[in-house]
Amino acid sequence: MKKPSTSGISIRNVSKVFGSNSGTTLALDDISLEIPEAKFTTIVGPSGCGKSTLLYLLGGFDLPTQGEILMDDKPVRRPASDRGFVFQDFALFPWKTVLGNVAFGVQANGYSKKEAQKIAKHYIELVNLNGFENAYPHTLSGGMKQRVSIARALAYDPKVLLMDEPFGSLDAQTKKYMQGELTKIWEKFHKTVVFVTHSVIEAVYLSDRIVVMTARPGRIKSVLDVPIPRPRNYIGEDFLVIRRKVLEFLEEEIQKEIQQNHV
């Protein structure tokens, strides 16, 4: 197996404007951020702050209106296999089995079908889905589907993993389980991860660094480091201290968002 490689991302003065018949919306306002290599970075913010928009820009699905995004000194302008993406609603291919889903990306990157399946099996094992290789996605539970999604995104060995509220549609118990699993997986590869969530607990549990965004138009409010060794204790003293700090920042912005939109 190839040794996993990873990269950092440079976000420079990125702004994003959405236009429509009813006017234009400034979603992201002059964001500059360095995503450190081989670290787990989480972006939190109130609803509508543009965190998913930013992630989609990192994925190359859309272009910034201004500014640029660089990875390995090359601008990110379209989706490509140096990045992996995990969607909140899994986005698995329903016409392929678990094995088919996970192997698809590998095959698309130059491996033969046999080799791709071998690599895929390895990642399916990594996410604890042995025995489900030939199952179709619609027969799986939410947690299982998301595990397939993660395996699929990792299988072709991208340099960066982008995750858009991946555990958002799971129940509380499955969520906790998945957070633990993701930490275990991450410890194996130490890939650069950019994780978007609105759960502060999730952010503090998983990340090395937390970026808090403001209400729309989205800007960087603050960046906090989380130097707690893993696996982390949800109710440990150091955990709670950081959680409180992040919550304070986030609450301010949530209040602003409510003022903006619900008054």
Binding site: P79, P94, G105, H138
Partner: protein
């Protein structure tokens, strides 16, 4: 005759395909694109299967149109030795009602058989297997 069949179904199928592909969940396509899939592979292995569900009803109807076009073309085509359409046409000429009706019924039955054999099996092998449709 081949042209008749072609015209019978072509426009319906094309329109349906375009609409069906637009209906495809964009996230599924995005997921494939970030894996590096593009061009023909993206079309054949992602867009096509994903849009199959939306395509099937129109496909069914279009096959019906094509079948009708076939019979109709037969009626007008002087070069055919014998065909269902020709049989009905001649029966009309001689006012042979029973033959006419027999012909019509056969057309209907054959149409259903085609539907069963081709499309239903296609449906079962694909959309039902993939869980996109709830089966009785």
């Amino acid at each position: 005759m081949i042209i008749a069949i072609f015209l019978g179904g072509f426009f319906e199928i094309t329109c349906a395909m375009i609409t069906a592909m637009r209906t495809v969940q964009i996230r599924i396509v995005s997921a494939a694109r970030i894996m590096g899939v593009k061009g023909w592979k993206l079309f054949l292995e992602v867009h096509l299967p994903a849009s199959l569900l939306s395509l099937l009803p129109t496909l069914r109807v279009s096959v019906g149109y094509c079948w009708r076009a076939l019979v109709g073309a037969e009626m007008l085509c002087a070069m055919i030795e014998w065909g269902l359409g020709k049989m009905i046409y001649e029966a009309r000429f001689w006012n042979d009602v029973s033959v006419m009706f027999a012909g019509l019924i056969v057309i209907g039955v054959l149409g259903v058989i085609i539907d069963r054999l081709l499309l239903q099996r296609l449906e079962t092998k694909t959309v039902v297997k993939w869980g996109m449709v709830k089966n009785r």
